[in-house]
Amino acid sequence: MIRLTLDGEALVLPEGTSVAAALAASGDDHARSDLAGRPRAPFCGMGICQECRVCIDGRRRLACQTLIREGMEVERTR
């Protein structure tokens, strides 16, 4: 099992899980907010739509194209 944090909350999930799946597993699948503050969530799941932009260890990444790693820090972007 892999341990990571999502907005500071600890999550423990199986190896091979994508960050997008980790968002869903947390119970709140939103990845970021639009300019009006409305939540946006993973949509295409294949790296095209750019809806699932999150901050991973300080860098913007696509949640659907990134696998979780031990100690990873994921933050939803605002």
Partner: protein, 364 residues
């Protein structure tokens, strides 16, 4: 009015405000207004180019308080970046030229530059700061200009220009005392002999990173790239959009109408941008696309009456400056159509300038 881009919309708006009944016909094809950067910038490739920019920027400033928030008008100013002493000399020439046109600007030191834009790489020689330059979101502004009493917008494709009427793809004909052709590159399909060709450009936009950059940043070599008559060129141009996204350009290519993004050229453009702004290497791009500028041989737009066709007016060929110069284009068209005194000398923009030289060189 054929064409609802920023130029057609501005002309329609000006003519409607003058009391004319304006029907705008637009096919909804991909066009420069929706692809471009939306910069309002003073270029001085020639006295006529600068005169048009200067007059037009003043018109944009006057219009700014009326624009909707979604038009995203923002007077961010431009920093023309100098890499060396030669660039500084170019910057000073530009300062003098802008001053002649009534546009204030100042040379700033490397220290001041670093304070204004901390993400720029160290070692630049300084910059020319033009505070009156701005940016806006041209597709929305064009739509807003068309929401004016006296204008009707029709989504239809014009397939032929006839005497004081146009034929539409569905077979209908629409007649008008005055027809303005403001269809950019598409105009070539409606009128033979227009000296316009496509210059392809790439743009890339990043995720939102608010507060990182505040001015429009342009390398001083941009003018040379923008005015080059052939070949492929890349010049650094970056805007911080009001959303916090960074919009990065620019490339210029002739002899292609292929809209695909070309990774090798996009990479060259981004390497150039990173050379000025190293922090770009660590941020996330979300989209890249291309567009085509409608360029004339001398880099100036064609604005004015067609010399032979009754009732036909031309407002096209604005290349990369259509957003900047749309309001003055519209003012020239309005003055011409109504027989009023023009706001600036219209002769450098007339179509006849290409006709006059044709017999002399015997080429066309």
């Amino acid at each position: 009015m054929i064409g609802a881009g920023i130029v057609g919309a501005s002309c329609a708006h000006a003519l409607a405000l003058a009391g004319l009944s304006v029907r705008v016909v637009d096919a909804g094809l991909p066009a420069a207004t929706s692809a471009g950067m939306g910069h309002l910038v003073s270029l001085d490739g020639s006295a006529a180019e600068l005169a048009l920019c200067s007059d037009s920027l003043a018109r944009w400033r006057a219009l700014a308080p009326s624009l909707p928030a979604s038009g995203a008008y923002h007077r961010c100013g431009t920093l023309w970046l100098a890499e060396n002493e030669d660039d500084l000399a170019t910057a000073d020439d530009k300062r003098a030229a802008l001053a002649m046109a009534g546009i204030g600007s100042e040379l700033i030191t490397p220290t001041r530059l670093a304070a204004l834009e901390p993400l720029l790489r160290p070692g630049l020689s300084g910059a020319l700061r033009v505070e009156s330059d701005a940016i806006l979101y041209a597709p929305r502004v064009a739509d807003w200009l068309l929401e004016c009493v006296g204008i009707t917008l029709e989504r239809a494709q014009v397939t032929a220009l006839e005497d004081q009427q146009v034929r539409l793809a569905d077979g209908r004909r629409l007649g008008a005392r005055v027809i303005v052709l403001a269809a950019g590159l598409q105009a070539g399909a409606l009128l033979e002999g227009l000296p316009i060709e496509a210059k392809k450009g790439h743009l890339l936009v990043t995720d939102r990173y608010p507060g990182r950059v505040s001015h429009q940043l342009v390398e001083l070599g941009y003018g040379a790239s923008a005015h080059a008559g052939q070949g492929t060129s890349v010049a650094f141009n970056l805007q911080a959009r009001p959303t916090g996204q960074l919009l990065i350009g620019s490339t210029r290519q002739f002899d292609t109408l292929d809209p695909r993004v070309e990774p090798a050229l996009l990479a060259r453009m981004l390497e150039r941008a990173r050379g000025y702004l190293p922090a770009l290497g660590a941020i996330n791009a979300i989209r890249a696309w291309t567009g085509f500028r409608a360029a004339t041989p001398d880099g100036l737009p064609i604005i004015g009456r067609h010399p032979e066709r009754e009732g036909l007016w031309l407002a096209l060929g604005h290349e990369g400056l259509g957003v900047t110069t749309a309001p003055s284009t519209a003012a020239l068209i309005r003055a011409g159509v109504l027989g009023e005194h023009p706001p600036l000398d219209p002769s450098p923009y007339r179509f006849e300038r290409f006709r006059a030289s044709a017999p002399a060189d015997g080429q066309r």
